[in-house]
């Protein structure tokens, strides 16, 4: 097989695996910050136990996130040495800062996890959340600026094939940064909120420890409310993305919407099948003029069509499906969360219905699928470029021998890591009720005032 394709498949596989743990890594800190706050403020053991249980599971996902993150960091140079040599001159700053943010987070996370019982004042421990949230969110921000640079490069001149006159800050704060950072950060928060909701709903259906029902209901409530807030912000950022793409990356917008002719009053195409030769779309839901409206807040906005983009610079048309999946899964989560909360308010008895709870169980996995679909859309949408407008993937990939062997090695690794983490995580809380955890808390946490901690 072609080197370029194997290199792309390997990079895609690593990123697809890493992004699961990275998303959890960005989202969990904010959730435990919220639950611990509620726990301390209301002197509520449910939330305190919840904080500990989530952060216990978090240690396992962090471990896998750290190792897969290390892999992708080095793999960039291994798979795309030419790109890193060229781009290293321009994007080193955010990469460097990302490592600092990660370092910062790692230190405080270590302190946080082993100091639950060490501080006399519970708020002291809560304060440790701040550097963790800052560190995890900022590392997402910095790494997104690097990816944004690959989409909308700026901050340098080209002279004889080399990038010169580099302005690090201008490269870092390139045009696509604000919109993408907002979207990446809030979809991660949202996804983790829905994962927590899924677990709570699942446990309510399972009903193994009846004494835990209140605990899980509290978890479900806080997860769904935060999930709704974060997904509204994520949706708003998604809407800004359409306008952004229209301005700066029209070929991506056109490919993801199967928009061929440049025209105003362009239709929004949802779902459907495409015949690539005749450019005919079958079975799609077409909403007249909405694409124009999304792109420029007016039905008269002229949207560039694919036929006006040189053939060898067109992204693959498959990205339309990823777009559909992302939107559908994202919307599903928001809709279910809102509906469930309304039912809870007006018909509280209905929420014990298993079918209704099953719909909530789906939100976590669906949100994660939306993340995956969104990244496939974003990454494949800038094909054939690795550095849009400057360097094509085909020119950047390594031609070192043994690539297929490497691919096999990593595939095996991810299977082992994936299966083992699921095994470890499910075993963790299977046989221990939250109530048991709360009883342990009784001894030292809330009564800490008399006992005197660290």
């Amino acid at each position: 097989m072609d080197q370029v394709i194997i290199a792309r498949m390997l990079a895609a596989m690593t990123l697809a695996f890493h992004i699961i743990f990275a998303t959890v890594g960005v989202g969990v800190p904010i959730i435990i910050m919220i639950t611990e706050f509620l726990g301390i403020k209301n002197k509520d053991k449910h939330y305190l136990a919840m904080t500990r249980r989530i952060s216990k599971g978090y240690t396992v996902t962090v471990a896998v996130g750290v190792v897969t993150g290390t892999i992708i960091g080095l793999q960039l140079s291994l798979l795309y040495p030419t790109f890193m040599e060229m781009g290293g001159h321009v994007i080193a700053l955010p990469l460097f800062m990302e490592t600092f943010a990660f370092f910062f987070e790692a230190i405080f996370l270590s302190i946080y996890l082993y100091s639950f019982d060490r501080f006399k004042n519970l708020w002291t421990h809560w304060l440790l959340n701040i550097p963790i949230v800052l560190g995890s969110t900022l590392s997402a921000v910095f790494i997104t600026t690097v990816n944004s640079f690959m989409n909308t490069p700026q901050g340098f001149d080209v002279e004889g094939g080399k990038l010169v006159n580099v302005q690090p800050l201008e490269a870092m704060f390139n045009p696509s940064v604000p919109v993408r950072v907002l979207h990446v950060v809030f979809t991660a928060y949202m996804t983790v909120a829905f994962i927590v909701a899924s677990i709570a709903a699942f446990k309510l259906i399972r009903n193994k420890f009846t004494e835990d029902r209140t605990y899980h209901k509290k978890g479900l409530k806080v997860a769904l409310i935060t999930g709704i807030i974060f997904s509204v912000i994520a949706m708003f950022a998604g809407d800004l993305s359409a306008k952004f793409l229209h301005e700066h990356q029209p070929e991506k917008l056109a490919a993801m919407e199967w928009h061929f002719e440049t025209e105003s009053q362009a239709d929004l195409v949802l779902f459907g099948m495409l015949d690539e030769d005749t450019q005919e779309v079958k079975g799609a839901l077409k909403i007249p003029g909405v694409l124009s409206f999304l792109a420029g807040n007016s039905f008269d906005t002229e949207v560039t069509g694919l036929n006006d983009i040189p053939k060898d610079e067109q992204p693959p048309l498959i990205i339309h499906y990823f777009f559909d999946f992302m939107v559908f899964f994202g919307m599903y989560c928001l809709a279910i969360a809102v509906a469930f909360m309304l039912i809870w308010k007006f018909k509280p008895k209905w929420i014990h219905n298993k079918l209704l709870l099953s719909l909530v169980v789906l939100t976590g996995p669906f949100a994660m699928l939306a993340i995956e679909a969104g990244w496939f859309l974003a990454e494949m949408g800038r094909q054939p470029w690795i550095l849009r407008g400057y360097l094509k993937v085909s020119e950047a990939a390594t031609d070192a021998p043994g690539l297929i062997l490497t691919f096999g090695g990593f595939l095996l690794l991810y299977i082992i890591l994936g299966v083992s983490s699921v095994y470890v995580l499910t075993r963790m809380f299977k046989d221990k009720s939250a109530k048991a955890q709360m009883d342990e808390l009784d001894d030292h946490t809330l009564l800490n005032d008399q006992k005197g901690g660290y």
Binding site: T59, G88, T99, A106, D117, P168, D399, L413, I416
Partner: protein, 342 residues
């Protein structure tokens, strides 16, 4: 240039220092994994494993960041390294990455999960010893003569790498050093924790490996003379005092451990012993990061990026150093914690 120092000098010093940091904390970590395995197999779990877990749990993640910091930094300061090392190290670096991942993940599965499986301890205990071996390949390659130029780029010459006595001596040194550094640190740690049984096991390991360690060092030195004469002569002519100082510290540390005296100072001696040898090796290597392709003076990143990296580095350190000290104060240097009371 900033403060009268060239950017490449700042860059290489920063990176070399961070790599030293990684080698030291990494060695403690990898060796500790091996000792945890040893403890389980020999039925000494009680004596060794709790002690090790108490140290490792809060710090292993930070250890890993030292490594990430190094390879991100080197590509940032010297982008050409991405090209040469990237295109030649595909297989060896991928092997390192896979071992590192197994090690990190199974460490967490074993220690944070509710199951404890011997096979997991074996996985993370043994992989720990392979990590330094596989990572040292990058240092071996940096001496030159293992890279051939092909039609489309540069490739690793596997045959000469595998047949090279220099390469094997470095790999051997890496593994032995891990056991040496790790047992030194954990002996001191066990002493502070008053864990007498763990202490005597670890001290025995330390004394056992001190001799082979210094012997291998000598062997590496001699084989370097055959492999890269220029580098060897540079070391003998200009950095010999560093190596001699390192040797004296080694004697001093071994004596202290042997006579069970001043354990904290003893470990500081081990640390300094390695630092001296490390900087001696690094300084004599200059100006090549990869002989003869990457010369620090010619391949440094453009000045505006170098300046912003330096500023980011200083600001970053202002944030990191106090945080790291807090971590050490709470766990590693906290007597009550070390003794298992908190």
């Amino acid at each position: 240039m900033i403060f009268g120092i060239e950017y490449q000098t700042i860059g290489i010093i920063v990176l070399w220092t961070f790599l030293l940091g990684y080698v030291i904390v990494g060695s403690i970590d990898w060796g500790a994994g091996f000792f945890a395995l040893y403890g389980r197999i020999t039925g000494r779990t009680k004596d060794l494993n709790q002690l090790i877990a108490r140290y490792l749990n809060p710090v292993w993640e930070v250890t890993n960041v030292f490594f990430v910091f190094f390879f991100v930094g080197i590509v940032g300061f010297f982008p050409e390294t991405a090209y040469y090392y990237g295109s030649t190290l595909l297989i060896p670096a991928s092997i390192s990455l896979i071992i590192l991942s197994i090690r990190g993940a199974f460490y967490a599965f074993e220690n944070y999960g509710i199951d404890s499986k011997l096979s997991w301890t074996i996985l993370y205990g043994l992989s720990g010893l392979f990590i330094p071996a596989s990572l040292s390949v990058a240092l071996v390659i940096s001496e030159g003569n293992y890279i051939v130029e092909g039609a489309n780029g540069h490739y690793l010459d596997w045959q000469s790498l595998i047949l090279s006595p220099y390469a094997w001596s470095v790999v051997l040194l890496a593994i032995i050093s891990v056991l040496y550094i790790s047992s030194a640190f954990l002996t001191t740690y066990a002493h502070i924790a008053n864990e007498t049984r763990g202490y005597s096991i670890l001290r025995r390991w330390f004394l056992m490996w001190a001799g082979p360690m210094i012997f291998t060092c000598l062997f590496v030195f001699i084989s370097l003379r055959e492999h890269n004469h220029e580098h060897f002569m540079n070391a003998v002519n200009n950095q010999l005092w560093l190596f001699i100082a390192s040797f004296i510290l080694f004697i001093f540390a071994t004596l202290l451990y042997y006579f069970k005296k001043a354990h904290t100072i003893a470990f500081i001696c081990v640390f300094l012993q390695f630092s001296f040898a490390w900087f001696g090796y690094g300084m004599s290597k200059m100006p090549y990061i990869l002989y003869p392709y990457i010369n620090v003076n010619e391949s440094v990143v453009n000045p505006s990026m170098a300046l912003s990296l330096t500023i980011a580095f200083i600001l970053g350190l202002l944030l990191l150093v106090p945080s790291l000290l807090l971590l050490l104060k709470l766990f590693v240097f906290n007597k009550a914690y070390v003794k298992g009371m908190k």
